[in-house]
C-alpha cells in the first residue's frame, strides 16, 4: 500500500522555527486528522507537501519516492487561505483547474458536472464565484480540490465556515475518498469532528508531532475508568480491590482502576454495584480527543534537550 510520508521536515521563517523535525505518514485509504493550535505548523507542513513552500530540511515521499511536480499534480489541495478567481464562473473555473492538473477538456467538464452535482452547487455553475455565499464558495473550493480526481487529498481546515448540512456532505466525501483507497489528510480545530471522522490523529505543537496514532490507541490510558449510573459509589466501591472513586454526583459515579487491577476488574466493579442496587448504565470512560489535546498542548514547553531525545 503506498503512503504519503512526511519525514523530518524543518522550516524556519526569519527567526521563527515553524517546523522542527515534523514526521508522520498517511496510508492509502485512511483519513488522517491533523490538529494543533494556530501557528503550530499544520499549514506550513501542508504547503511543503504541495511544493508551494520549500523546506529547509527533510523530505516528503509518496510510495517511497520523493514528490516531484508530476506526483504533486495528483494531489487535491484546499489551502488554508481560500482562493478562487472572484470574477470567473464556477463551472469555467473548475474546468480550468482540472485542465491545469492535466485533464482533457471533455473529462474535465464531466468531472466538474459530477462534483458540482455531488456538492449541491450545480445550479451555480454559471455564476461568478464572487456572487456565492461563503458556504457555497467553500463547496466550490472543495470541488476545486477534487475536480481533477486526485490520488491524494490534502485539505487545510476544510470544515471551517460550513453549516451542519455541509459538514455532513464534506464528511461523506472524505470518507468516500478514503474508501476509494486515497490517503486523506485534513486539519481542523473541531476536535469532535476529527475524533468522529479520522482513522488516525496527529497532534502538533511548536512544529513537531507530539502525539500520533489511532483514536482508540490515543485514548487508551493506563488507568481504566468506568461510569456507573446506579447506587452511589460510596456504598460499594470500597469492596473492589485496586479501584477508587474519582467523582460522584447523585446516582452517577466514576471509578478508576489502577495498573495493578486484573484485566476483568470491570466485571468485579459491575457485580459490586449490582449487589448494592439496580444499575441503569455502565460505560467505559475514555478521555475525548479534546481532553487529550488539552493535556498535550498545554503541557510545559519541552526544553531543547528533551526534544532531541524524543
Amino acid at each position: 500500500m503506498p503512503s504519503l510520508e512526511i519525514d523530518a521536515l524543518d522550516k524556519t521563517y526569519g527567526t521563527v522555527r515553524a517546523l522542527r523535525g515534523m514526521t508522520f505518514d498517511v496510508r492509502a485509504g485512511e483519513i488522517f486528522g491533523f490538529v494543533g493550535s494556530n501557528g503550530a505548523g499544520k499549514s506550513t507542513t501542508m504547503r511543503i507537501v504541495l511544493g508551494v513552500l520549500a523546506q529547509d530540511a527533510g523530505e516528503v515521499r509518496w510510495d517511497g519516492r520523493p514528490l516531484d511536480p508530476d506526483t504533486r499534480r495528483r494531489i487535491g489541495y484546499m489551502p488554508e487561505e481560500r482562493g478562487l478567481y472572484p470574477r470567473m464562473k464556477v463551472g469555467d473555473q473548475l474546468v480550468y483547474l482540472a485542465r491545469l492538473h492535466g485533464m482533457e477538456t471533455a473529462a474535465a467538464r464531466a468531472s466538474m458536472e459530477r462534483w458540482t452535482e455531488t456538492l449541491g452547487i450545480a445550479e451555480r455553475r454559471g455564476d461568478d464565484v464572487l456572487k456565492l455565499s461563503l458556504g457555497n464558495q467553500q463547496r466550490v473550493q472543495l470541488a476545486a480540490a477534487l475536480v481533477h480526481e486526485p490520488d491524494i487529498l490534502v485539505l487545510d481546515e476544510p470544515f471551517s465556515g460550513l453549516d451542519p448540512v455541509a459538514v455532513d456532505v464534506m464528511s461523506g466525501v472524505l470518507r468516500e475518498q478514503a474508501d476509494a483507497g486515497r490517503p486523506v489528510v485534513f486539519s481542523s480545530h473541531q476536535l469532535e469532528l476529527v475524533e468522529r471522522l479520522s482513522d488516525r490523529v496527529g497532534i502538533v505543537r511548536a512544529g513537531s508531532m507530539v502525539a500520533l496514532g489511532g483514536i482508540d490507541e490515543l485514548r487508551r490510558t493506563p488507568n481504566r475508568r468506568w461510569s456507573v449510573d446506579g447506587p452511589p459509589g460510596a456504598a460499594w466501591a470500597a469492596d473492589v480491590p485496586a479501584v477508587r472513586v474519582v467523582a460522584s454526583t447523585g446516582t452517577s459515579t466514576i471509578v478508576e482502576a489502577d495498573e495493578s487491577a486484573p484485566a476483568d476488574v470491570d466485571q468485579t466493579v459491575l457485580q459490586a454495584a449490582l449487589a448494592a442496587g439496580p444499575v441503569r448504565e455502565f460505560t467505559v470512560v475514555r478521555p475525548s480527543l479534546t481532553e487529550l489535546y488539552r493535556d498535550v498542548v498545554t503541557a510545559d514547553e519541552p526544553t531543547d534537550t528533551q526534544e532531541g531525545a524524543a
Partner: protein
Amino acid sequence: MSAARSLGSGAAIRLVAGRELRTRLLSKGFVWITVAFVVIVVLGGLLLKITGSSSSAEHVAVTAETSSAAASIKASAAGVGVEVETQEVADRAAGEDLLRSGDVDALVVATNPSLDVVVKQTLDDPLTSVFGSLAQQLALSSAVTQLGGDPAAVAQDIATAAPSIVALEPEPERDAGQIVAGIVVGILLFVALMNAGQLVAQGVVEEKSSRVVELLLATLRPWQLMAGKVLGIGAVGLIQLVLVVGAAVASALGFGVLDSTSLDVGSVALWSLVWFVVGFAMFALVLAALAALVSRQEDIGSVTGPVIALMIVPYIIGISIAPYDPENTLVVVLSFVPFAAPFVMPIRQALGTADGWEVAVSLGLSIALIPVLVWLAGRIYSNAVLHAGGRVRLKDALTSR
C-alpha cells in the same frame, strides 16, 4: 487514475494564456475600449476628410465696380500662400447681406483711390496679409502709372521675384499626412502599452489578493504562470491594436485623406504592431515582477509608478517634439534607448525620418534586453508571488533562495 497526468510547460502556458484571452476578450472593459477607439479613429478620418475637402479657402465678394480687381486679389493671395475664392455681387447692400450671413469673409467696395474692404467683425490674418499686399500693389501701380511706366510689367516682375535659398542642413521633408500619422501612432502605442501593462500588473495582484495563486502554484511553476499571463494579455493587446490600426488604415484609405501625402501607411501600421510587441514584452515583464511584490490592488501604484513614468516621459517627448523637430537630439537618442524606443521610434518612422539602420539598431538593442528581463522578472516573481500580506522588498525578492 483515469485522467492523463502529464502536462508539459508548453501546454501549461497555453492553458494560462488561453484563460487570460478568454476572460479579457469577453470582458466589458475590453469591448468598450476597443469600440471607442475604433469609433474615434474612424471619426478622426472623417473629420480630416471634411476639413481637407472644404479647405480653408477665403471667400471674398466684389461689387460690379470692383470686379476688375478679382484677378489681382487672387494673384496677391497666391503670393502670400492663401487660397481665395471671389464672387461678384450686384451691389454693396447685397454684399453686406452675404457678410452678415457668413457666406463671405470680406467685401471689396472700392479699389481707387484707396482699397476699401467691409467685414462683419474683423478681418482674419490670412486676408489681412492678402489685402495688405494688394493695397501696396495698387499704390505701386498708380505710382508707376504716374511715372509713365507699365504697371502690369512691374507687377509681373515683382510677383516672380523670389530669393534663392541654399540650406546647409536641409530639414527632412515631411508633409501633413506624415505628421498626423506620427502623432496618431504615438498616441495609439502609448495607450495600448499602458493599458496592456496595467492589465498584467492587475492580473498578477488579482491572483495574489484572491489567494488563487496558491492553488495554481500547486500544479504550475511560477515562471509558467507568469509566462502564460504575459503572453495571454499580450495577445489581447495585439488584437486590440490590430483592430484599431486596421480601422485607422481603412478609414484613411476609404476617406482618401492620404491622396496628397508620401506616407506609407501600410508599413507604418506594421511597424507600430512590431513596436507594440517589443515594448509590451519589456514592460509586461517588469510590471509582472513588480506587481508580485504587493498583495493588494491599492498598492499597485506604489511599485509600478516609476515604470509608468518610464512610459510617460518618452511618450510626451515623442509626441510633442518629434513631429515638429524630427532631428532633435533628445528625440533621436531616445529612439534608441530600450523602454523609450517603442514610443519614439515609430513616430520617427511615421514621419519618414528614420533610416533603416537606425530602426534595426534600436530594435536590436531592445530585443537583446528581453532575455535579461525574462531572467530577472522570473526570479523576482517566483520569490515574491507567494508572500501574502505586506510588501516584499525588491532586494529580498532578488536575493532570497
